[in-house]
């Protein structure tokens, strides 16, 4: 199980190498992995159908309840099958679509990592690892949207997607922590089995809102939907895989997963069905205002995501069956349609369907696949999409909340997707032949395999309904908390309300499609008008304010004068520490007397050289005087028998002097830049800091809350650490993790200094 999830990451490591060896055929090689996984996951199905959910455990950080545990039930298995199954065709397709691209190796690295993260997300049983995989999908999505990184728009879209999903991710983290705390378990199976009162708990509302924020941003629900159409800047295989079939469904997955635990909450039902319904309608409506093939599909994806969220919210038996059916149907036809949109773009050289026409004779296979997939999108018999849509209407008509609103939204959405389906499947392929930038011909096998198989499955599943019913829908319904035995799918339910609604949709959609080209200018105006006030405008306003505040605070805090930095830092420290010290402790008045003349002499030496350092007009003299202070500190260490500290202090002091001297050469001559008044201010600040430190040290030596840990260290150094030098034993054994952190910081500082020097040097030469 662990290997199945992580194999994608492992293969990703070798992806560039494989690309170089296998050349143009590398897509087929990579596809072997998801294909194998698909077969393996499918092999788990009978077991799960017979015995229910199973948990496979791999301890990772058992002390912190963070484990690589995997929950295998109908829901996770169906997602795993979709990811690996569609992934297989996507990887093959990408080989054709990005043939000869210079960064093909890099593409497969990220794509395979994404696939592994997504599998981890849907299979993970631990809330923390689920979150880790969740964030990994956001990051890989960012890299894939911005894959054409020289394109400004792609970069901006990638960043937008990242901001929205990661902001939601933060909320989700808070929500999951609350969930784990309230339920008393950080494992999903534990949460689902928990008898704690999740809904009645005082944290229930913030917890629900946080989890919903995470799921809604990820699954592009209104008002966070705007990032998804922009994400279409990614190469088409990415759009088909991440932004339609898998990643955007992560939010839906999480909601479905938590539905048995939280579905009873009234807030859950209300919010999910309302936002889902609104998203469904908005997506379907926006889809028909666009002419870019991928944009139309992106908005129809939003519609589908909204539908799924709404169905979870409704939560009745019909809704759950509709959810499972719709999910399978959508993944199949939408994957196919995206790949077809990619083929059109690839073969004609334009993304705009308004510029295409009469392509069917030139690309017969593509045209047939498009027609089948689009029929499923439109929800017409005998395809699986029809069954999904009928069930959705059925569920909406008996919804427990928003009973007036949801059927209207569903009817509107039904019209929208039918028009969208027509735009994709009729407009480019039939009618008058239009000239396109490139001369189109049939796509290569690698690019046709996906659409043909997925569209074929849409048809097969629609005709032979018992296949999805028993293998996919029933197990999913069971893991959503419904009764699997009651699941029965059928194409013909007699003449009932859903069928009448469907017919109504078809008529209206036909009319709209007839006049769609003529309506385009009006739709453009409408879209632009909405864009000015839509949530995306809000996003830009927030980003603008963020930049403005950042600029303002940089101007105030980072004003570039060393003196100001020092004063700010010093005064802040004096203020906060001094306040705490005086209010919590009081000022210690007992001044210790040095117990030897030697220590007093060293102290005097330090004081004199410190005064000399501030008074001298020579930089070198000042550095030398400061180093005397440093060496005197080393003497004190040695006096109190800490040879290691003494040696370190001497060495550090020596190297500091060397570094300072190196820098001194680069400074202009010593000039007095401050006015007398400013110097008085500096003196006061210096005196304040000095006094604070003195008082602080006095207080620290007086107070002893706990037995010092040093005795323990001394006692355990030889038996446990095998060393007599306690300092070193602490550094490399007892507290080795701290040291590891410190050397990383040290290295980082060095790299920082180095890049600053380099940047400066380049500035001068440029």
């Amino acid at each position: 199980m662990l290997l199945a999830v992580l194999s994608g990451f492992i293969l990703a490591l070798f992806a560039p190498l494989i690309c170089r060896v296998a050349g143009d055929r590398c897509g087929w090689v990579f596809a072997l992995l998801p294909a194998t996984l698909f077969v393996w996951f499918a092999g788990l199905l009978p077991e799960v159908m017979a015995n229910g959910a199973q948990v496979v455990r791999y301890p990772w950080f058992p002390a912190m309840e963070i484990n690589l545990d995997f929950l295998i039930d109908g829901l996770s298995l169906m997602f795993a099958l979709l990811i690996s199954g569609i992934g297989t065709f996507i990887l093959i397709y990408a080989g054709g679509y990005l043939k000869g691209h210079p960064y093909l190796g890099r593409f497969y690295v990220v794509m395979l990592s994404f696939m592994a993260s997504m599998l981890g997300l849907v299979l993970s049983d631990n809330l923390v690892t689920l979150f880790v995989f969740w964030e990994l999908t956001s990051i890989t999505s960012y890299l894939l949207i911005g894959f054409e990184h020289e394109d400004v728009k792609a970069r901006a879209s990638a960043l937008q997607g990242l901001f929205v999903t990661v902001a939601g991710g933060l909320a989700l983290m808070a929500g999951l922590i609350m969930l784990g705390t309230v339920a008393g378990s950080y494992s999903l199976s534990g949460v689902l089995a928990s008898d704690a009162d999740l809904i009645g708990h005082e944290w229930a509302v913030p917890m629900l809102l946080c989890i919903l924020a995470g799921a809604f941003t990820k699954s592009a629900q209104v008002p966070f939907h705007f990032w998804l159409p922009n994400a279409m800047a990614a190469p088409t295989p990415v759009s088909a895989f991440l932004h339609s079939a898998t990643m955007v469904k992560a939010g839906v997955y999480l909601l479905a997963r938590l539905n048995p635990a939280l579905g009873e909450a009234e807030l859950w039902t209300l919010l999910l069905s309302l936002f889902g319904g609104l998203t469904m309608f908005t997506g379907a409506f926006m889809a028909i205002t666009h002419t870019g093939a991928k944009k139309v599909l992106a908005y129809s994806t939003i519609m589908a995501l909204g539908t799924l969220v709404m169905l979870i919210g409704i939560g009745t038996h019909y809704a759950l069956v509709a959810f499972a059916t719709f999910l399978v149907a959508h993944s199949l036809y939408k994957g196919a349609l995206f790949m077809i949109a990619g083929i059109l773009d690839h073969e004609t050289g334009t993304k705009d369907v308004a510029e295409m026409g009469g392509l069917a004779p030139l690309m017969p296979v593509t045209a047939v696949a498009a027609a089948v997939a689009a029929l499923s999108l439109a929800g017409l018999p005998p395809l699986l999409g029809f069954v999904g849509k009928e069930l959705m209407f059925e569920a909406v008509l008996e919804a427990p909340a928003w009973r007036m609103l949801l059927p209207v939204l569903a009817f509107g959405a039904g019209i929208g997707v039918m028009v969208a389906a027509g735009i994709i499947a009729i407009k480019p392929f039939y009618g008058k032949r239009l000239e396109t930038p490139k001369h189109p011909h049939e796509a290569p096998v690698s690019m046709l395999a996906g659409p043909v198989v997925l569209a074929g499955l849409s048809l097969l599943f629609g005709v032979a309904l018992f296949i999805p019913e028993q293998t996919l829908v029933a197990p999913v319904v069971a893991s959503l908390g419904g009764t699997a035995e009651k699941v029965h799918l059928a194409l013909w339910h007699g003449i009932n309300m859903p069928l009448i609604l469907s017919l109504g949709c078809l008529v209206v959609a036909g009319v709209i499609l007839r006049f769609w080209s003529r309506l385009q200018p009006q739709l453009d105006v409408l879209r632009e008008g909405l864009g000015r006030f839509g949530p995306e405008a809000g996003y830009f306003r927030i980003m603008e304010w963020l930049t403005r505040i950042a600029t303002w605070q940089t101007r105030v805090l980072q004003n570039g004068t060393m003196g100001n930095y020092m004063i700010t830092l010093a005064l802040t420290t004096v203020g906060i520490t001094g306040f705490t010290l005086i209010t919590q402790y009081g000022v210690p008045l007992r001044l210790p007397v040095p117990d030897s003349g030697f220590a007093a002499g060293i102290a005097l030496l330090m004081i004199v050289s410190a005064f000399f350092a501030t008074g001298t007009v020579s930089r070198l003299g000042s550095v030398a005087a400061m180093s005397i202070v440093g060496f005197a500190v080393a003497l004190i260490f040695i006096l109190f028998s800490a040879p290691d500290l003494g040696i370190t202090q001497i060495l550090v002091e020596t190297l500091t002097v060397i570094l300072l001297v190196l820098v001194l050469f680069r400074l202009p001559g010593f000039t007095r830049m401050s006015s007398p008044l400013e110097r008085w201010r500096d003196i006061i600040v210096a005196v304040l800091v000095g006094s604070l430190m003195t008082v602080l040290i006095l207080a620290a030596t007086e107070v002893q809350f706990f037995e010092p840990i040093s005795a323990e260290h001394v006692a355990r150094s030889v038996p446990d650490g095998h060393g007599r030098n306690i300092v070193n034993v602490i550094l490399v054994d007892f507290r080795a993790l701290d040291t590891l952190g410190e050397i990383f910081v040290l290295a980082l500082a060095a790299v920082g200094v180095y890049s600053m020097i380099r940047l400066k040097a380049e500035d001068q030469t440029a």
Partner: protein, 145 residues
């Protein structure tokens, strides 16, 4: 920065630099029982290289080092991380010290351990950090390098 053109410093450096480097290795190896250890040894070793740098200049120092100072950083951190692996492979909590006694000719033995490996990592990282800064600063003095 320009190298100091004094014969005395140059001659002294030729003797001092190898001695100091040797001393740093001595400090590193004995560090667990006597004053010393990776951090101090790293400082001593960088001091040696900086002495060489002052007497012979940057390009000569680069030739002496053979690798870029930044490589020390990477290798040092890597060794520090590698020292975690034995404990993980034995199924113990990360960074549990492992001790092996390697017999030496003449009856004694040498205590070899993961803390020592870790200390070598610290040693190299310290050298790498200081040299990266010092060499970087010196090179920015002479733009022709």
């Amino acid at each position: 920065m320009r190298e100091a053109n004094t014969l005395i410093l140059r001659t002294a450096a030729l003797i001092l630099v190898p001695m100091q480097l040797l001393f740093s290795v001595f400090l590193l190896l004995r560090g667990h029982d006597e004053p010393g250890g990776g951090f101090i040894a790293g400082l001593v070793a960088s001091g040696a290289v900086v002495l060489f740098l002052f007497s012979y200049g940057v390009s000569a120092t680069r030739e002496l080092l053979r690798v870029d100072p930044r490589d020390f950083l990477g290798v040092g951190l890597l060794i520090g991380l590698v020292s975690i692996l034995p404990s993980l492979m034995l199924g113990q909590p990360a960074m549990t010290a492992q001790w092996w006694e390697i017999p030496l000719p003449g009856g004694g033995y040498y205590k070899f351990s993961t803390p020592l490996i870790f200390d070598v990592g610290v040693y190299l990282t310290v050298i790498g950090s200081i040299l990266t800064m010092v060499v970087g600063l010196s090179e920015s003095e002479e733009p022709d390098v």
